[in-house]
């Protein structure tokens, strides 16, 4: 009987959360756009043919030049009905008529995957360290905070460049470099959440009833620290996309590595845009903006759900 009541209480809680979120029109709009992006990523992953996408991992499909000889040195075409985002021409080889919309659809899958990878790994490392250092305190806490200070003391783009320089300029290493930059944020956040939670009565009672340190940290503290961390993760997915597309834009990936990534696509357009082919930079840039905008709107709604003071 008690469990049924408990379930009902939890269900009511969820219903209230959903109502608070759904009452926020812009947050819902953000969610819808976000779902469209996720849908695109999923479809390209599972059945790219549905969207008319071929070779989801390549910018230029193999044997493209042989099968489409007319595309040799074809200048980019402006947005039209058949190519809603226009087309672009790749580099010195002069491979033209590459459809930007198709490229963007491929890139969204890769961008979302990297963004989630960076944020989730960074959050996992950071939160664990933050909870442990916040709970254990003393010198461990002091050392960890000084370490995060060091990571915060360099503008992150420059730190990412330096790290990337050392570990090599590949897509995976770009994600790795950003994880190195991202975990301190979560270490700080997890720590501060732990510091407030560990004063709560239920932690004290757990300690009084003889729970060990590990049990308190992972059974009691972590579940209570997680909800705000999850909101932060959802917000950071938008921010991280902005940062790594910017990194790719300034040429983090070597020019012979062709990855359909939104920032990298904008980077290909660098030589073309000043000649009047503006859509080669604006289309991928606009898609990034739309995604980040959707995530930020959604995050605002989520914050209202988590923060009881803003519920009304």
């Amino acid at each position: 009987m008690a469990t049924v009541l408990e379930h009902k209480a939890r269900f009511d809680e969820l219903k209230l959360s959903a109502r608070v979120f759904l009452a926020n029109k812009t947050a819902v709009a953000g969610l819808v756009i976000f779902l469209v992006f996720m849908g695109d990523a999923l479809i390209v992953q599972i059945a790219p043919g549905v969207l008319g996408v071929t070779y989801p991992n390549d910018v230029i499909p193999p044997q493209f030049t042989q099968t489409n000889p007319e595309c040799d040195n074809m200048p980019p075409e402006p947005p039209s009905l058949s190519h809603p985002f226009g087309t672009f021409e790749y580099g010195q080889q002069g491979i033209g008529c590459l459809d930007l919309l198709q490229l963007v659809m491929k890139a969204i899958r890769i961008d979302i995957a990297i963004a989630f990878f960076i944020v989730l790994v960074g959050a996992a490392i950071g939160t664990l360290l933050g909870v442990v250092s916040g709970y254990v305190g003393k010198w461990l806490d002091e050392v960890l905070m000084r370490v995060t200070d060091v990571f915060f003391s360099v503008p992150f783009l420059i730190l990412a460049l330096a790290v990337g320089y050392v570990i090599g300029r590949t897509l995976f290493n770009m994600a790795l470099a950003l994880i190195i930059i991202w975990w301190p944020l979560y270490a700080r956040y997890g720590r501060s959440l732990t510091l407030t939670t560990k004063e709560a009565t239920f932690i004290e009672s757990a300690r009084a009833s003889g729970s060990g340190r590990l049990k308190i940290m992972f059974r009691h503290l972590l579940p209570n620290v997680l909800p705000p961390i999850l909101v932060q993760i959802s917000l950071d997915v938008g921010t991280v996309i902005l940062i790594f597309s910017t990194l790719a834009f300034i040429g983090f990936l070597p020019s012979n590595v062709l990855v359909p990534e939104l920032g990298a696509i904008a980077n290909f357009g660098l030589d073309l845009a000043p000649l009047g082919f503006w859509w080669t930079v604006v289309a991928p840039g606009g898609v990034i903006t739309l995604f980040a905008l959707a995530v930020n709107l959604m995050g605002d709604g989520l914050r209202d759900v988590i923060d009881p003071r803003r519920r009304s």
Partner: protein
């Protein structure tokens, strides 16, 4: 706590961060192995025994066969003595490169932060005072969009429209290349070839009374700094608006209104000052954003500052510069954050007791 005690405490706390920063850069530089460190000194065309000899010489010079912690102290000693290595991109010591490029970045960031401040304060205050009016809604939509834009898109949009598109403002380099030969040699120092007295061409030309060059160099700063300001505006306006909304709820503001103080005065006199105070803490964010953003913006506008040089060095395998600017940016950021914290403690004594 007295102000000087607070300052002293902050200065002591600064030390571990600075030491940690040198650890970080040292570790990064040495993680890549010996080849990465020596790359800057060895001509890639050199082969055979000559190369072998050079490698041995350099290994001895940088003590690369010693244990890592010993290497660290040799490395730190070299850094403190001003030996930051050789840049392969400019074929000069890295420190000379900083002398060339740093003043431009400082000029850019100062103009950009001034612009950010001038634009965001009235907008933030006004938008909070007229909460939920059409103007406020518009400001929120615009800032939200700007906030979600990658900085390269903001910069590139300006570059394409005002720059190369309509040709309203120059969008490349620090000065028109045509004007370069007209700059008198006498302004330059022979050893470092930087212009005097300030190293910033726009200001130096102005001081020397050459208006054409001064005006032209100044025009080249506008577009990059506007782009940088636009990228930072949104965050500042959001913080300022939230802070202003909070202040407007305070009792003393209500009292001022009740006394019959005109709304304009309440906003600008009672509320604004107190709303601005918390935004000083967000200056750290502003400074970090300024330098991070300068990298991208300088790259787009080929504005020859440290940011441009760092990306250029990154793309051309110039390790000494990448590591050197990591260290320099780190030190600058740490020191400016310290100064701002002290300033904040000076303005708001409550901070010192936390």
């Amino acid at each position: 706590m007295k102000l000087w005690v607070y300052v002293l405490r902050r200065l002591i706390l600064l030390l571990p961060t600075l030491i940690g920063l040198t650890f970080l850069v040292f570790a990064l530089e040495h993680l890549g192995g010996t080849a990465l460190i020596l790359a800057q000194y060895i001509d890639p065309h050199l082969t055979g025994t000559a190369r072998q000899q050079l490698v041995e010489q350099l290994t001895a010079r940088f003590h690369l066969n010693d244990p890592v912690y010993v290497q660290y102290f040799y490395w730190l000693a070299a850094i403190l003595q001003g030996d930051w290595g050789l840049s392969t991109t400019i074929r000069q010591p890295v420190t000379t490169g900083f002398l060339w490029f740093m003043p431009n970045t400082i000029m850019l960031t100062i103009v950009a932060s001034a612009l950010t401040w001038i634009i965001s304060v009235p907008i933030g205050v006004y938008s909070a005072a007229r909460r939920d009016s059409i103007l406020d809604q518009g400001v929120r939509v615009v800032t939200f969009t700007l906030y979600s834009m990658p900085i390269f898109l903001i910069g590139y949009a300006l570059f394409l429209t005002l720059g190369t598109g309509w040709r309203i403002l120059p969008s490349q380099f620090n000065i028109d290349p045509i004007l370069l030969p007209t700059i008198p040699r006498a302004w330059f120092d022979d050893t470092n070839s930087v212009s005097y007295p300030t190293h910033i061409l726009a200001i130096d030309a102005f001081l020397h009374g050459d208006w054409t060059i001064a005006w032209n160099a100044f025009l080249h700063v506008i577009l990059p700094s506007v782009a940088l300001a636009l990228a930072l505006l949104a965050g500042i306006i959001r913080i300022l608006r939230a802070s202003m909304l909070e202040v407007l709820e305070q009792d003393y503001v209500r009292l001022a209104r009740a006394k019959g103080v005109p709304e304009r005065l309440v906003n600008n006199f009672h509320a604004k000052k107190n709303a601005l105070l918390p935004t000083v803490t967000s200056f750290g964010y502003l400074v970090s954003g300024l330098f991070g953003g300068a990298v991208v913006i300088e790259y787009i506008f080929t504005f020859k500052g440290i940011g441009w040089w760092t990306t250029f060095a990154f793309l051309h395998q110039d390790v000494a510069v990448v590591m050197g600017s990591t260290l320099v940016f780190g030190v600058i950021l740490v020191v400016t954050t310290l100064i701002l914290d002290i300033l904040y403690a000076f303005l708001d004594p409550r901070i010192r007791y936390e």
